[in-house]
């Protein structure tokens, strides 16, 4: 096995008496698409927030490229190369599409013109029409929001992107479009993706490997079809058989 890009080691995160993430461990390898699934309240988003620095885990370590990044603030984590998108879109409403992506690109350069050029390249690559670039964040559709969110994250030149429920609220054909964009983006920018998702069709089709979380722990791991037939996973989602 090659050295993993990201290693989550025995991470614990509590909120008062509730243990949201309970001794969770997993590895993510370079250039793969990892699906992270689990029923509601399994701790997926909390784990995301621990990795991206929004929360500081109580126990355990998070290692990225052989460097301990546990507890670093979000603006430092992204400099190391971990970007994210949001479950609930967080648009810059009064900025245009182009300006929003430029903000992301400014992480790697102090020069606004240069950042704007980077932003244009990424928007073009992702496939947002030029006529939409000068629209404000308050004027675009949900799928465009998701794409802009992705473009913003890409503009920071990450190695790993964490996608938090990107498919939520999208129509089936929009999901297919998004999946295509994600595959294209991974190819072009040599990215690794972690996809947290509820929409099974989307995540099963896109991921090469799946990690299943339940009650803050990893209960299964493997290729999509293996995981789907794992009795523990079925149990976590549907409950036990009635006697």
């Amino acid at each position: 096995m090659p050295e993993p890009l990201l290693r989550v080691e025995d991470v614990v995160k509590r909120f008062g008496g509730i243990i949201a993430v309970n001794h969770m461990s997993m590895e993510v390898y370079e250039n793969e698409i990892l699906g992270l699934i689990g029923p509601n309240g399994a701790g997926k988003t909390t784990l995301f927030n621990c990795i991206t620095g929004v929360y500081k885990p109580e126990e355990g370590r998070i290692i990225f490229q052989n460097e301990d990044i546990t507890g670093l603030p979000p603006h430092v984590i992204i400099q190391k190369g971990i970007a994210r998108t949001w479950q609930k879109v967080r648009p810059f409403k009064k900025l245009t599409v182009l300006e929003a992506v430029t903000v992301g690109a400014l992480l790697r350069t102090p020069d606004v013109d240069e950042a704007r050029e980077t932003a244009k390249e990424i928007l073009e690559f992702i496939g947002i029409e030029k006529s939409r670039w000068n629209r404000l964040g308050s004027e675009i559709t949900l799928i465009e929001h998701k794409l802009v969110d992705l473009a913003r994250a890409l503009a920071t030149r990450p190695k790993l992107i964490l996608l938090d429920e990107v498919a939520a609220g999208l129509r089936p054909h929009e999901m297919d479009e998004l999946a295509k964009v994600l595959l294209k983006v991974r190819e072009e920018y040599k990215l690794t993706l972690i996809v947290v998702e509820h929409v099974m069709r989307f995540v099963m089709g896109l991921s090469e490997r799946i990690v299943v979380m339940h009650e803050g722990k990893k209960i299964a791991e493997g290729r999509p079809e293996e995981v789907a037939n794992n009795p523990r996973v079925v149990e976590a989602y549907l409950g036990t058989k009635p006697l």
Binding site: R90, L106, L107, A153, T156
Partner: protein, 328 residues
């Protein structure tokens, strides 16, 4: 390198022309007022308000923090410049920069913990409003209710003790143009983009690598420095040092003008300051004497009307006019 420096100082053509146009108009105002003492004083007061609102636009408009302490930073600049002049005979040309530096120091002392503990929105407004009162009490503890007067000193140009208001008018008008220029430069820079992102969504901004606390503090420091400089010029105009300079009402009015102007629009902010400040004085003169206090009533009604009819502020009106002109 001179090449990069001149690039850093330059503005886009359209903006440069607007700024030069504004400077010419401002330069001609006293001529149109016939160098009338009273009217020039009024115009000076309008410049003062506009400068303060333009400085506030950096923290309030760009960074989106509802700061009500404009008068605290202005008064700090004023009392330090004033006392250095009155007690030590130090020229305000140097004093105002010391005043501005102290204002920045206080801004850091207050801003660092404020942003560290994530105080924002109404709580930030309350905190900054309290800051004005606290500064006022501190001044009161030191100097009591005594008022210190700055004597007339020669040469006038060194001690800024002129007998005519035109000079003060031109100083504040120059200050206004400089502050607008600073605003425009910030808007086009990395700092401007980052402040806008912070204003729109702090969490998303942080996830894109923006050190939110640090950039908020930068905005606060620039704003405090500019407000302090404005205060330094203002004190040479009035010449009276008193705890009343720390005026909570002025802090609120500054924010109100900035909001009426349309958050983040420097043109709207300055326009709002000019209109509202002139209107306030006009109403005071026209009806304030007959029915004391009624000018504030009318003033308040106008603010409500603007809020209802143009919640986006005067900036949206400016945009509308610009589009109309371009279409022709």
């Amino acid at each position: 390198m001179p090449g990069t420096l001149s690039k850093k100082l330059a503005l886009t053509k359209e903006r440069l022309y607007s700024l030069v146009g504004l400077a010419i108009v401002l330069a001609l105002v006293p001529v149109f007022l016939g160098f009338n003492f009273y009217y020039v004083l009024l115009a000076t007061n309008v410049m003062l308000a506009a400068s303060l609102v333009a400085a506030w636009n950096i923290i309030g408009g760009y960074a989106g923090q509802l700061d009500l302490a404009a008068s605290a930073y202005m008064a700090l600049g004023a009392v330090i410049t004033g006392h250095l002049l009155a007690s030590f005979g130090l020229t305000p040309w140097i004093g105002m920069f010391i005043g501005a530096a102290v204002a920045v120091g206080v801004a850091v002392l207050v801003g660092y913990p404020t942003f560290r503990f994530g105080i924002k929105e109404v709580w930030y407004a309350l905190l900054t409003s309290a800051l004005v009162v606290i500064m006022m009490r501190i001044y009161y503890l030191i100097y009591g209710s005594f008022e210190t007067y700055i004597p007339h000193m020669e040469p006038e140009w060194l001690y800024l003790t002129f007998r005519r208001y035109e000079v003060y008018y031109y100083m504040l008008a120059t200050m206004l143009v400089i502050i607008i220029w600073v605003n425009l430069k910030i808007k086009d820079s990395k700092l401007g983009y980052y402040l806008a992102a912070i204003r729109e969504d702090e969490l998303a901004a942080e996830a894109l690598g923006i050190d939110v606390r640090r950039y908020k503090l930068y905005a606060l420091m620039i704003y405090a420095a500019l407000a302090g400089l404005v205060g330094g010029i203002y004190i040479t105009l009035t010449g009276i040092l008193s705890f009343r300079l720390f005026d909570p009402w002025l802090g609120i009015v500054t924010a109100v003008m900035g909001i009426v102007g349309g958050l983040g629009s420097i043109g709207g902010a300055v326009l709002a300051a000019v209109i509202l400040r002139s209107l306030e004085e006009y109403l005071r003169g026209a009806i304030g004497a007959t029915y004391p206090g009624s000018h504030l009533l009318v003033y308040g009604l106008i603010l409500i009307l603007v809020g209802v009819l143009k919640p986006e502020g005067l900036a949206s009106l400016l945009d509308y006019l610009k589009k109309k002109i371009i279409r022709r």
